[in-house]
């Protein structure tokens, strides 16, 4: 029976055949029976990277298989959620080495997206803490790949959007921690120069991220609130119980418009200007503020939304940010959540997103004029030598992919060698002609 599914952005929706992988054998059976398919985890990728006519649902493969406390190494199936890892290992004094802004994703998804966190400038991407991956190839064989063993397959699979095979299991290195709390410092920055300078000033802090008011214009362009943090040394290893709010239904289309976003952004900036300083917050508050609001994607109405995340290399990046922020403020297409981060050096994975420079993530409700506007931004991003994050993408054109990812050909070589008939594909890979 076909089901109607979408990515986290609720755009687009498609009818898909969904098969449940509750064992490795079941995964193989479905894979071999279908002409093509894509693996899907928690469905939190914003765009169309886990949408396809045949979808292998990996969440039932959600068991932790081994744990070595001396090395901090956990072996788990691909469908394990990051939340499950945190619940299991935080009480034992371990935390993820790299975590994105939600813990409601799976390990398989984190690897396929090679996700990054607030510590990219110090620790790199999720793949940095992956010791090995068990990957099921198009022929149904299980290949164990790691930086030492089949390194090319490893480099193609981390960040490879599930197009090299089905990630079945992985070994991850966790970091030892002493506390479930984060010592946080909040710095109000009146414009773009100020926030970029503040990033450099606090480059030694393990975690940093800035919220940016993308509707602020003129002298206030780039007005931001920078948050930096480090693991506290005390406070215990258990998290406080936290109530979850729920957005129970879709907001009317356009409820988040430039007026309401401007109001929110101004209030947010004002509050943080008044309360800048030091505080101690829980891991949940620091890393996963939006996980406290279930179904927040419904705020964008039934038309859905998309996230536009790009990175610009550090040289010329400040000018590029200025140009892009001016374009956004000029269009009045404000983003409710705009996040600015400083990245460290790129890794060796062929399609991994981060590079040494600045990344900006913006949410936009689907609205008339948005897609041509983002095409315009693409050209700016390309002109400044940047690229778009595949995990958030739902609309870029093949030329933009080629422009941003110079190792695409090496990725394709590896994909063709282990998936010669292009059985692993998604709406995204079809659109971007990754075959």
């Amino acid at each position: 029976m076909p089901s109607r599914i979408s990515g986290w952005g609720r755009y687009p929706w498609i009818e898909a055949q969904i098969a449940v992988a509750d064992t490795t054998s079941a995964a193989r059976k479905h894979l071999l029976a279908w002409p093509d398919c894509i693996a899907r985890g928690a469905g939190k990728s914003y765009g169309d990277s886990a949408l396809s006519q045949n979808v292998l649902q990996m969440t039932p493969l959600n068991r932790i298989l081994a744990f070595d406390a001396d090395r901090g190494e956990v072996v788990c199936e691909a469908g394990v959620g990051l939340d499950k890892l945190i619940d299991a290992f935080l009480p034992k004094g371990f935390f993820l080495s790299v975590t994105p802004g939600t813990k409601q994703i799976t390990v398989g998804g984190a690897i396929a997206s090679d996700v990054h966190g607030k510590n990219h400038h110090r620790c790199g991407c999720f793949s940095t803490c992956v010791n090995w991956i068990d990957l099921m190839s198009a022929a149904g064989e299980i290949i164990r790949c790691s930086p030492q063993q089949h390194p090319e397959i490893f480099q193609a699979t981390c960040g490879g959007m599930g197009l090299t095979g089905i990630i079945l299991a992985a070994a991850l290195r966790l970091q030892p921690i002493k506390s479930a709390w984060i010592d946080q410092k909040t710095i109000y920055c009146r414009d773009l120069d100020a926030v970029l300078a503040a990033f450099d000033e606090f480059a030694d802090m393990p975690y940093s991220v800035a919220w940016i008011d993308c509707l602020a214009k003129g002298a206030c362009l780039g007005r931001s609130v920078l948050m930096v943090g480090e693991h506290a040394g005390c406070g215990g290893l258990s998290l406080p119980e936290k109530p979850t709010a729920t957005i129970p239904f879709s907001f009317p289309n356009g409820a988040l418009n430039s007026a309401s976003i401007r109001l929110f952004n101004t209030a947010y900036a004002w509050v943080h200007r008044r309360h800048a300083g030091e505080s101690r917050v829980s891991l949940d508050q620091f890393f996963y503020p939006l996980d406290g609001i279930a179904n927040w994607n419904r705020m964008y109405g039934n038309r859905g939304f998309l996230q536009y995340q790009f990175v610009l290399p550090r040289s010329g990046g400040a000018d590029g940010l200025l140009a892009i922020l001016s374009a956004i403020a000029g269009m009045g297409m404000g983003s409710f959540l705009a996040v600015l981060k400083l990245f460290g050096p790129a890794n060796r994975n062929f399609l991994s997103f981060p590079m040494d420079g600045y990344t900006l993530a913006l949410d936009f409700g689907i609205q008339p004029g948005l897609l041509p506007f983002l095409d315009r931004l693409d050209r700016l991003v390309a002109r400044f030598g940047g690229r778009i994050y595949l995990t958030k993408d739902v609309r870029m054109a093949p030329w933009m992919l080629k422009e941003g990812y110079p190792l695409l050909d090496r990725f394709l070589q590896v994909k063709r060698s282990i998936d010669p008939h292009n059985r692993f594909r998604s709406l995204q890979s079809n659109r971007l002609e990754i075959a």
């Binding site: 064992t23 068991r63 932790i64 298989l65 081994a66």
Partner: protein
């Protein structure tokens, strides 16, 4: 406690294993089911996350001859047994195909009886622990959509009440669990009313709480008692015309 869960691959069974592993320390947990590929990973997962010994065992409730040997080989013998296996089956098919009907009756009733008699004899002798068995509100009134399953669960309910009566003098408890709609593999794709549907996690917590309170019969969640009271009070003359 030494806990044996029979039919441990079901979603509810896994949640029960997690709940008891978290709440009843020290616990030693045995998971038994047909599909060992799935079960062994679950057993590792539970032993790592809750720091309890947890083992996977091959078990087939329909292979009646194997059951005494299976139980005798358990070392240490369990003091609590949770019976989770069940088979909803395809009602329409069962009406025309005796093999399907028999499978429903054998799994939900005959297999349960065969296994629980073995468990009961042992616990009665040892005067310890007890049995928790998952029935169903479907066994409280026959409906056209699942009356083969309902009838088998109804028979199981009567069996459990007799067993409870028998084991009471030995101090051995028997708890009948009557869950309403659960979001599980068994009901995947069925159009269940969201308001009346419970997650297996929540159901496991409620079952554990009822077990702590030493209940004989536990509706999961509790308000199903009142829904079923109303449904059972509808006169048959009226009920036969309804599509509930």
């Amino acid at each position: 406690m030494n806990l044996l869960i029979a039919g441990a691959n079901s979603d509810l069974a896994v949640c029960l294993a997690e709940t008891f592993a978290a709440m009843e320390k020290p616990a030693n947990i045995l998971l038994a089911s047909r599909n060992l590929e799935r079960l062994e990973a679950t057993a590792k997962d539970i032993s790592i996350r809750f720091d309890v010994p947890c083992k996977a065992l091959a078990f087939d409730a329909l292979d009646y001859e194997s059951l005494p040997g299976f139980y005798a080989a358990l070392d240490p013998g369990p003091d609590w047994v949770i019976l989770c296996f069940g088979y909803l089956g395809d009602e329409k098919k069962a009406e025309q195909d005796w093999a399907e009907a028999k499978h429903i009756l054998d799994t939900n009733y005959a297999g349960a009886v065969r296994f629980l008699e073995i468990v009961a004899a042992d616990l009665e002798k040892r005067k310890t622990g007890g049995i928790v068995a998952i029935g169903s509100v479907a066994g409280l009134r026959g409906r056209k959509s699942n009356y083969h399953y309902g009838a088998a669960k109804a028979a199981l309910g009567v069996f459990l009440s007799g067993l409870r009566n028998r084991l009471h003098p030995a101090g051995v408890r028997v708890m009948t669990v009557l869950p309403g709609f659960l979001q599980t593999k068994m009901t995947q794709g069925m159009p269940l009313p969201a308001l009346l549907t419970t997650s297996p996690n929540k159901a496991a917590a409620l079952i554990h709480a009822a077990w702590k309170k030493q209940k004989d019969i536990a509706y999961i969640p509790g308000w199903w008692r009142w829904i079923m009271l109303v449904i059972r009070m509808i006169p048959e003359k009226v009920f036969k015309g309804l599509s509930l």
